[in-house]
Amino acid sequence: MYPQDLRYTKDHEWVRLVGERGTVGITEYAQKQLGDVVFLELPALGRALATGENFGTVESVKAVSELLSPVSGEVAEVNDALVKAPESVNTDPYGAGWMMVVKLADPALLGSLMDAAAYKAFVDSESK
């Protein structure tokens, strides 16, 4: 439910860092809160994103939620397959449900995000 190799935000996004590239998606908790995801809007390749900037939208049957970038940098890859099969956000949020890859402006800043234990504690306090 909270993979150890990821970093997390209070908006329930996750980042997986490989070299200077961070893969971004939403967490298991986020997909559960949303319910069946049926629509996604993802950013254009090459777009420059600031931390906390809106990079797209995820919609379930009942809810619309903005996607906020956990990192700053340039959009290097976008998961086009996910736009055609948005249900992967529900079934595999940490795998096929990835949304974009960002070439990080400053990989060191990732340290300011929550690790798995801190995020779990945050979710537990939120769902009380």
Partner: protein, 374 residues
């Protein structure tokens, strides 16, 4: 769901099935002053189960009034839009409580229990408003009672509904016609079973005293599960009714939209036998001459999901807002309802829905979006 329908979490009312929903892992949300299950396993799975097998809905938040006495029929003829005189004992009709403007205070189901005793089913969020409104209209030679707290209302909807429910009652359900109801024995206790619903499927709504609700719910789930019955929440109820183009009060119609504009001319009776009723002058004129705007069904042609409140524009000019909009799980399309000027409301007309600042093309389509095979 409109925020206006929500009240502070601590003040939410609970149906007699609240504990059962919690136990089933339902996601609970505020709706019309009640804490209600919005989904159990997921809106899409529940929606599809109702289309292919059956779903079980707790709709105990709905209100039930009784109008009884020798003046009941003439009072109801004066305050509702449909012709109550057409009802026989054991028959129900979809109707509305119009204001003088022709806009509804609420949409309701009127049922005739006896020549001098009628039932009204009203929307949860309108129970108090409707009751006050009806009192203000001055019932004569009849009494109006709000009996909402005495009953639970459970809907079983879908092609397997009859087969599942038949196992629990000696009443021959095959003989119960659409919009008819019967007093019946259900698990050895009295119930009112009506062939009505809000999903576009065959199905029943079952009225029982609140103390019977939990036993009945559990038994229906046990008996129905092997045939595909699942508990279904308000989320699926909303997408199912939208595919069937059934109006939701507070979204698709309210105190500013006339019944004719909402496409509900078929529940406005201008028969001579109906006599005068609140709103008749306006509604009769609109029925004859047309209304300035009309509620239409549309499909999104571009990419995006229309939602309640999104602006609708025609050739660059805003003409209204989306009243209901959603992904339609059975049709696999993004659909919705909105008001358009009548002269630009024909099937095939294209217009734009503004979704998060972007204009997305949409097209008027025939409704209902979904019609079951009979």
């Amino acid at each position: 769901m409109p925020a206006s329908m929500e009240s502070a979490a601590g003040l939410l009312r609970k149906t007699p099935l609240h504990a059962v929903h919690r136990e089933s892992g339902a996601k609970m949300v505020p709706f019309g002053g009640w804490e209600m299950p919005v989904e159990y396993a997921g809106v899409i799975a529940e929606h599809l189960a109702v289309r292919s097998a059956a779903g079980l809905f707790d709709v105990s938040h709905m209100g039930e009034f009784e109008v009884a006495g020798p003046g009941a029929l003439s009072f109801l003829q004066r305050v509702t839009s449909n012709n109550v005189a057409k009802l026989a004992d054991g028959q129900a009709q979809y109707s509305a409580l119009p204001m003088p403007s022709g806009a509804p205070v609420d949409d309701v189901i009127v049922s005739r229990k006896a020549a001098d005793c009628f039932g009204l089913v009203v929307n949860a969020s309108n129970i108090q408003k409707d009751f006050r409104w009806l009192q203000q209209q001055g019932p004569k030679h009849c009494e109006l009672h709000d009996r909402s707290d005495e009953f639970a209302l459970i809907a079983i909807q879908g092609p397997k509904a009859q087969a599942i429910l038949q196992g629990l009652t000696p009443l021959e359900l095959a003989g119960l016609r659409y919009y008819h109801f019967a007093e019946a024995e259900l698990l050895g206790h009295p119930a009112t079973i009506s062939r009505t619903g809000y999903t576009g499927e065959d199905g029943f709504e079952i009225l029982v005293t609140s103390d019977r609700a939990e036993t009945l719910w559990r038994r229906l789930i046990t008996v129905g599960q092997p045939q595909g019955l699942v508990p279904a929440g308000l989320g699926a109820r909303d997408t199912l009714r939208l595919e069937a183009r059934m109006c939701l009060y507070g979204n698709d119609m309210d105190e500013t939209t006339s019944l004719i504009e909402a496409g509900l001319g078929w529940i406005v009776s201008v028969d001579e036998a109906k006599g005068d009723f609140v709103g008749r002058a306006v509604l009769e004129a609109q029925k004859k001459n047309g209304a300035p705007r009309r509620l239409v069904g549309f499909e999104i042609v571009g990419r995006g999901i229309a939602r309640h409140g999104h602006p609708v524009s025609l050739k660059g000019a805003q003409v209204g807002v989306v009243t209901s909009g959603s992904f339609a799980p059975f049709l696999q399309k993004n659909i919705g309802l909105c008001y358009l000027p009548s002269e630009h409301s024909a099937v095939g007309i294209e217009f734009d829905v503004e979704i998060r600042g972007k204009l997305v093309p949409a097209r008027v389509v025939p409704t209902p979006f979904y019609k079951r095979a009979r």
